[in-house]
Every structure is written in C-alpha cells, then in structure tokens.
Symmetry: C2
Subunit: 104 residues, 2 copies
C-alpha cells in the first residue's frame, strides 16, 4: 500500500478554506479516482512541536492506493480538474510526497 | 482526535534505519505513552510528486491521541528516553507538527 501526501506549507496570512477542502475538494477527488483511492485522511495544522508555534503545514491530505501505478493511472486523466480546483480553497502551492505504508 | 506528525527531512547520504524505526523505536514509544497513544502509522518516503525525485521526508510517523494535553502529559516524562533513541536510527533532525484530525 502506498500513501500520497499532499501538504500545504503554512504561510502567515495565506488563504486556506478547510471547510471547502473537507466538504468539496476531497470528496470530488475521491469520486474522480474511484477505487484507486482506497481511502483518504485530512489534517488541519494546529501547531509545530512547541505549543503556539506555527505548523509546518496548514493542511494535509493522505491518499491511500494499492500502488504508485494505480494512483497515477487514475490521477492522470483527472489531474487538470483536481489541480484546477485548488484555487477554490487556497493560494498556497502544495508539496507532494509518495510513501510506502510501513505501519498503516 | 489529534495527530502528532514526526517527519524526517530527506538529505542525500543521511542515515535512516527503517527496520529499527519500525521494530524498535515505534513500539518503545507506544509502550511508554500507553493509552495516550491511541494508534500510530509509519511511512517510508519513496519519492516526491515526480517519479524518481527525492521525497521531502525519508520517514514519518503519525501518533494519534485524544488531545494535545493527553499527548503532552504522557510524552513529557518519557521525552528524554524517546528522543534519546533517535540517534540509534538516524542522524537527521525531525520536524514535528500537531494537527486536528478532520477526516481520520
């Protein structure tokens, strides 16, 4: 199992609509990817390690898929629509990472 | 529910013993935190968004707890031992983040 993490670096004053992300963007992504997205999780950054410090990421999602190939095959034809929706909830540029799920 | 993410930034040539992390460090952390750690996940970085590019993080763990306070109360007395074990699997300095679990 692999996990695709999409992480939005915190910037003071940047826009990030957590409600839209949870209620619109992620369900749309799941709908487009179908079974290639086994499940997903969504995080809202609270702080860094020290209480009151800013989080590294204001928001993250983690998308679970059977393999990198399965994800890419499903994502490719939908990339334009999924990425095009980002402007509806943030002006931040996300960082992406693909990980092997060692303990899930 | 909150999630404490501990993320080890990728550096070329840096040491990270994924087996020790999975088989020794994380079970020790779970044992020390007890019920304050509801569960945890472990990731091994494969790549960035582009195939073949380095991942942002070579390894990550995500620790689930009922609240920031519950985590900190359990972590505090064990911080020295848990943090002192890091040198046994890596020479990297982790980044920590606390998030609210929006979709778990």
């Amino acid at each position: 199992m692999i996990k695709v993490s999409v992480m939005y670096p915190y910037e003071p004053g940047a826009r990030f609509d957590h409600d839209y992300y949870r209620d619109n963007h992620m369900p749309m992504l799941k709908s487009r990817l179908g079974d290639a997205c086994k499940s997903y999780t969504v995080d809202k950054g609270i702080s860094g390690g020290a209480p009151g410090s800013p989080p590294t990421y204001v928001g993250m999602c983690h998308i679970f898929a059977d393999s990198v190939e399965a994800f890419q095959t499903a994502f490719g034809p939908n990339a334009k629509d999924i990425l095009g929706d980002i402007a509806n909830y943030t002006d931040l540029k996300p960082t992406m990472q693909i990980s092997e799920v060692v303990v899930g």
